[in-house]
Subunit: 405 residues, 2 copies
Amino acid sequence: MFAMSSGRRALLEQLLALKDEAGSHSPSMLTIVEEVPEVAIDVDACFLSNPYATELFLRRLEADLIATRRIRDVLEFYPSQNTVVAANLAGFLQVPAERIFIGNGAIEVIQAVLHRFAKRKIAVNIPTFSSYYEFAPEGVQVVQHKLNKADDYRLDVAAYLDFIRRERPDTAVLINPNNPDGGYLPFAELRTILAGLREVETVIVDESFIHFAFEDDQFTMRSAIGLLDDHPGLVVVKSMSKDFGIAGIRAGYGVMAPQRVSALLANGYLWNINGLAEYFFKLYVEPDFQREYELVRVRYINESQEFFRALGRLPGVRITPSMANFVLLELIDGPPADDFVFFMLAAHGVYTRTCSDKIGLQGHYVRIASRTLEQNRRIIAAIQASLEAWQPEDAESTSASSLAG
Amino acid sequence: MFAMSSGRRALLEQLLALKDEAGSHSPSMLTIVEEVPEVAIDVDACFLSNPYATELFLRRLEADLIATRRIRDVLEFYPSQNTVVAANLAGFLQVPAERIFIGNGAIEVIQAVLHRFAKRKIAVNIPTFSSYYEFAPEGVQVVQHKLNKADDYRLDVAAYLDFIRRERPDTAVLINPNNPDGGYLPFAELRTILAGLREVETVIVDESFIHFAFEDDQFTMRSAIGLLDDHPGLVVVKSMSKDFGIAGIRAGYGVMAPQRVSALLANGYLWNINGLAEYFFKLYVEPDFQREYELVRVRYINESQEFFRALGRLPGVRITPSMANFVLLELIDGPPADDFVFFMLAAHGVYTRTCSDKIGLQGHYVRIASRTLEQNRRIIAAIQASLEAWQPEDAESTSASSLAG
């Protein structure tokens, strides 16, 4: 039990109830602010994005659309069709436009691919992003390859290929870096895995966090997109909200065999990209914008890795090595994750992601997103203070009665 | 052949090529401006929206989001989940939230409903909105009930019910008012039809243009939403872009049996509503906003009906009675619709919708949207001038040689 005032405790109860309603995703900040207006959110460390890239994007949006009033065109008129936006992205991604399917967020790509191409059995690694099993079409089985806590949830290539040979799924999902643990599969290992998955009809590689991973000191990103020629069953999924913090705009894409793109577009997805998402994709491929983005990408990676190290030095917690922009924090002998997360929010205004709903995590885990340098300092202070306010079970009766009095 | 300069003719050729690429939908204004920058679009009478409502919405957006900088929250953070937005709309629509599915535009609702619930055979009336047959899932047949030119494409209830009894579709589509002709099925006739469709598992009534239809001198809107209790197979589809001119935001919804909403949300559509669409729906249900909207709705209906009457008085054309915000204009012994539409654009900057790609229209038709009072005057002048510039076949050799010279 946390030492706190009865007012704060009432707030905590309200927040826990809201979490119960939201199911396997945390309630969004907008929903929280709406439903529990008493909460003052100071830092949103649930939200997975590079805040420097958000600033960069918003400055350009202000200059391009707001100052010029061009935003009216973007909101009023029909956006371009899927193939037009794909053609715009093709040169930048260095793949033919016919391989690109633009989604209303990566989540639409995931849904489209699972609903259209998954036939019998989907293999996921757990822990994973819940939509990969929740979006399985009716009648399609989901089998789980359990990543091991003792290995920091790292994917063991040989064990994984054994699992695939045994289960014979038609669809396999790899998230790289993985969500929610941030574990990274180096490019060479990914190639080995793909070579071993030739019998699997659809291999989804979700690279929504790949912009934060690196293998050299230039922080070079290694995307699987180029491997499609050798692996026609590959589907690379990419969200743009992680890099840019534009979750409200809904922009993502998938790279896959051209006949799959045609199949999806043949009877759907006509105007699934809104005007602002179309504007975003145009901006994204501009060489000047890319140069500026690269600077904030590298800065953010450096700060994030430093943040993770600082978190790892706190007493009472353990972190999992991460190549993403978030880190899993295990509360050792500490409070249950839900209580901890909503206490942090009610008492310190710092919102983090409880992992109590994540299948496959063995312990009390909280997922912490890296934010700005200054916000990361406030997150660390709030975690420290919250752990200090925690009174383990045997002290509970005392603290409860003192609150009641 | 139109009398025009060789420069204009080259422009016309470019535009016709762009139309060929766009398939069964006209290229959007944004695409045209991008691909053929020489074109100066003065009036977009292809775009189906109430421009006064767009002004009203944009004024509020400016005050609420831009002046306050709150637009950042809307773009940056995850929007609320489908059920949260549905709950916000439920009171206003006077239906339980569990019956509402929010879509990324009405087109997503159409896709979701056809892909999930259409099983064997879809019955459409033609002419119709092409997505109702183009989005048919693989293996599902589409049967066409042909509306008659001699009846101004009006739906004959008895003939329609005969067709349904003969074809036994599991899914039937009614657009009311119909697109592209604007024909309106009065509420009493709609009830008769629904009573005759009890064996049809899914009856889609698309009311995207219902805000422009009326049966009394108060311009009262008669929605089928309230009929769901008596007709559990009913699915009412509603786009918001027609009323408000916010096609770039992508906002629509469907009202249907709660178990259908649950089935759709069980494995998809998690964050399909972007932040601006969520903002729109919140604004839409505000009583003050509704009062202001009602004024511009009635003004626009009056002006549109007056515009249609003026078009009908032009020589060389014939109009179809319309209760929507557009009208079908038949070019009698005039130019082919594609040539006419892109000549109007190249020579007068007025963009209209060619119906050359619309199945079921027997003649050369152009669909003209009603815009502001002043723009409607310019549309009429452009149509008149274009018809005067048209030289029928036998005069062609003369004009072609005069151009070449």
